[in-house]
């Protein structure tokens, strides 16, 4: 490990009332690594993402992004340091057009901040970038369509677009293929691979096919603890994982 890791979680705990959801998670993700976080329902996968992205503050422990401590910061502060996330339940700007959705997501990163002295139509960098992202997520033919009028699969693509367009280096995707049909999923995974090239990627995923196809490494989260963090082959061979998770899933026909 010569390079310094992009994201480090150090003994992170999270309690809601008396219930401990995350119980001492340690994780170190190298730049450019693609990590899939898997685990049974209620294992705390989404909570873990919420802690990293600043939606909640951890009860104890520390999180470092590019060497900077980020635990307890607000989501926008963490985003400005180069971490972006998508949501399991589609989280877009419903009454704005596809183009406006993407333009909103690039404005801060391009330094336009709270400007009320420049016209959007003259921000060539933001407009070009938003156009580029419309093409990358294959929604350029729906540029002026309101986001709420898109199909579900298109909304999922827009969700990814909003997450990626801001240019963050570390990207968390929370069940990007949730609710999609099998054929949609395979196309969508292709898209995700395309647009996340060169990024450090963490994703929560239920579909094991997706996980083994997409990830360099798999972290297995069970009852708020990471019981294995390794390459897909080694995780598959890990007896603890088989006992806790994979075995039972494979029996169910996944």
């Amino acid at each position: 490990m010569s390079t310094s890791p992009s994201l480090v979680l150090n003994d992170v705990h999270k309690q809601f009332g008396k219930t401990e959801i995350i119980r001492g998670v340690n994780l170190s993700v190298q730049p450019g690594e693609r990590v899939a976080i898997i685990g049974p329902n209620g294992a705390g996968k989404s909570t873990l993402f919420n802690l990293i992205s600043g939606r909640f503050a951890p009860s104890s422990g520390s999180i470092h992004l590019h060497g900077q401590r980020i635990d307890g910061l607000k989501p926008f502060e963490i985003n400005r340091q180069g971490l972006s996330r998508s949501f399991q339940i589609t989280n877009i700007f419903p009454k704005l057009s596809v183009f406006e959705n993407l333009r909103c997501s690039v404005l801060w990163n391009l330094g336009h901040r709270y400007s009320f002295w420049s016209f959007l139509s003259q921000l060539n960098d933001a407009n070009a970038l938003a156009h580029e992202w419309m093409q990358r997520i294959h929604l350029d033919h729906k540029s002026q369509e309101l986001a709420m009028n898109l199909t579900y699969a298109e909304q999922r693509a827009l969700e990814i677009g909003i997450t990626m367009a801001g240019g963050a280096n570390v990207v968390l995707l929370d069940e990007p293929t949730a609710g999609m049909s099998t054929s949609e999923t395979s196309r969508f995974i292709h898209l995700i691979k395309e647009v996340t090239q060169g990024k450090t990627l963490l994703t929560v995923e239920h579909d094991m096919g997706v996980v083994f196809g997409l990830a360099d490494k798999i972290a297995v989260l069970v009852y708020g603890e990471i019981i294995a963090f390794d390459t897909p082959e080694k995780v598959r061979a890990n007896p603890r994982v088989q006992e806790a998770y994979l075995g039972s899933l494979e029996e169910q026909g996944h």
Partner: protein, 428 residues
Amino acid sequence: MLESNRLSTSHFEKFVWLGFALVLLVAPWVFTSNLSMTMMSQMGIAIIACLSYNVLLGQGGMLSFGHAVYSGMGSYLTIHALNAVGAGTLPIPVSLLPLIGGIAGMGFAVLLGFVTTRKSGTTFSMITLGMAELVFAMSLMFSEFFGGEAGVSANRVAGQAFLGITYGPQRQVYYLIAVYTFISVGLLYALTQTPLGRILNAVRDNPERVEFVGYNTQMVRYRAFIIAGFFAGIAGGLGALNFEIVTAEVVGPARSGAYLLFTFLGGATFFFGPVLGGVLMVLAFVLLSEITKAWLLYLGLIFLFMVVYAPGGFAALIMTNLRVIKAGAFGRLNLAYAGLLVSGCVMFGGASSLIEMIYHLQLNSSMDTQLAFAGMVLDTGSKVTWSVVIAITAAALLWFDWQRKFFISQWELVQTDIAQASQSGSAS
């Protein structure tokens, strides 16, 4: 194709602005009476106030119950400045005094908005309500500044006349208001085309997501609040010059409520909605109150009616119907509209007869039981009259509701056809 569309859009926009300027310019030569001059002056002020309110409501999703605080404080600071100009202690031309109102509105928005905009949604609304009550209570406590019951009055013919403009005649005041209105509307429209304006829309739609694309939603709301405060203050300042008196009601809850009500009636989802709202506000306050004593009741009923049946306000009604007309499908709605209109008129006639009879009973019963209304003589002492009016109103209500359902079914058919046509058009 796209380019030519964009070009024609910008041409269209230029025409709209030119038309707006022309209307402001020509209006006092078309409507020359004193009443219309006063009303047009008030309309300009109300347009600025409602548009500034809509920065919060329509563009930022912030339901404020205390916007009159900022227009009202603008009014007070302006009237005090006007008195200072009159006393010779403040060397500022009267034409620029509304800017003092604007700065005052902005200053109070900076101060109070910092707390107010920390939260969104219901909490935001509650805090604005508290702030409004606070300032209104203070206006009764500090009579030195707020003028107590009598308010603060001033004479706008003050300082050096510039190019013979003294602001003595109402027409000169109107033109001052018109200039401020045109510039304010222009600037507020420009705001909607800037990064802050767009992110404000995003905050309205989905504040959580905005935080995850790098924006501090609290700061977005705060900035929008300050801008809204500035333009509210401008409106307040113009009001002070127009009326030459400012009383505590300008910061009162009724005024705040009126901004909300008429911005909503005009249509918060379109930029020009509050312009309609401002015009409606003055029509209602000046004309409707002349026609009937029960005008506030009518206003409340119209508001209820709009909230239930046309939550997009008049602007949305106009825009959706324009879309139907453009698609050449308006003819298909003739029957449905005629049904709505006739049943609506009967319903309105019945309901307003009832309202007028009740008011007559309450206010004038000692004089006479006869009430002349809309060419009829209604006898409030007769049980037969009451039963007939109630029966007609109830029947008309049912009839209208039936017509409404028929209209909606027709409307949806037309909308589906238009959507299909536009889709096949864009696909080809």
